[in-house]
Amino acid sequence: MSDNAIRYISKPHPVTGVTNSKLGIWCFLASEVMFFGGLFSAYVLLRASAPSWPRGSDLLNVPLATLNTLVLITSSVTMVMAWASLALKDFSKYKRYMAATILLALVFLVVKSIEYAHKFEHHYFPATNTFYAIYFTLTGLHGLHVLGGVVVNTYFLFPGSALWKNDPEQFQGRIECAGLYWHFVDLVWIFLFPVLYLL
């Protein structure tokens, strides 16, 4: 390893006890908490100061969103199973679980676009009213995070998986970090779903 290479990628750092990658991804997730926290805070402010607020279940498709919630939770399970497969040194199982994670994420995005298309067809846009503004903003930004996860996971399923042959420990670390991001995206939806659709 050259002098300029980042250290403590596969071995834990002696001071923190974790790899630099894991520390880094958790710091990134902390910033993401502030990102979505700001948006949720805006939702609270808008809803509390509005003269009236519609019931989410009257305007939005609860069965579709419940399906999406279950889809995302399942994708979280397949993601952690992908990491566990690498820990058990089973590369083909890893590929199957990672492929399942990506497919489930795409199902989520397709269902989301069906919801959006339905709204647009009936001329409900972000500019229609405050409820739709915050609904489209919150779910749209979350959807972009799902898409980002799909891109990263696809990289790790195809070209990125070559690292498994040269440095399996580092590759396993990468999948763990990708998994942490993916679970966070699931976490945000776990709060978004009841807040927007059920309350």
């Binding site: 923190t16 006890g17 974790v18 894991k22 520390l23 958790w26 710091c27 902390a30 908490v33 502030m34 926290g37 700001g38 949720f40 805070s41 609270v44 402010l45 509390a48 100061s49 509005a50 003269p51 279940s57 609860v62 419940t66 919630t69 279950l70 939770i73 399942t74 979280s76 399970v77 993601m79 952690v80 199973m81 566990a84 820990a87 058990l88 420990e169 396993q172 670390g173 763990e176 998994g179 942490l180 679970h183 966070f184 699931d186 976490l187 776990i190 709060f191 779903f193 009841p194 807040v195 059920l198 309350l199």
Partner: protein, 99 residues
């Protein structure tokens, strides 16, 4: 990660159990919404169930339950600032909540 195959297999059993719990709690969340509770109990119940689900994901899928101190340190700071963020609209105005 230097865990033995047996330990990983134990983890896998936990993942499946947590998945079942999460699916059940999702159904509970939707079921409770059909009770059409008044606003404040509805919000409290929904957020409590969501926090429980989030705790399961964070604790078991993100391995927080067995993670090192430094990660908790980052999260404690984050949670503090998140609470500040959520309370800011309420604390900055006295006439915020329109009844």
């Amino acid at each position: 990660m230097t865990e033995s195959p047996e330990e990983i297999k134990k983890h896998v059993k936990i993942y499946i159990t947590v998945f079942a719990a999460l699916a059940f709690l999702t159904v509970v969340t939707v079921g409770v919404s059909y009770l059409k509770l008044p606003v404040v109990p509805a919000i409290v119940t929904a957020l409590l169930i969501a926090t429980l689900k989030a705790g399961l994901v964070a604790g078991f899928f993100m391995h927080l339950i067995s993670e090192k101190q430094v990660i908790f340190g980052i999260l404690v700071v984050t949670v503090f600032f998140f609470i500040v963020l959520m309370l800011l609209p309420a604390l900055s105005r006295s006439d915020l909540y329109v009844s």
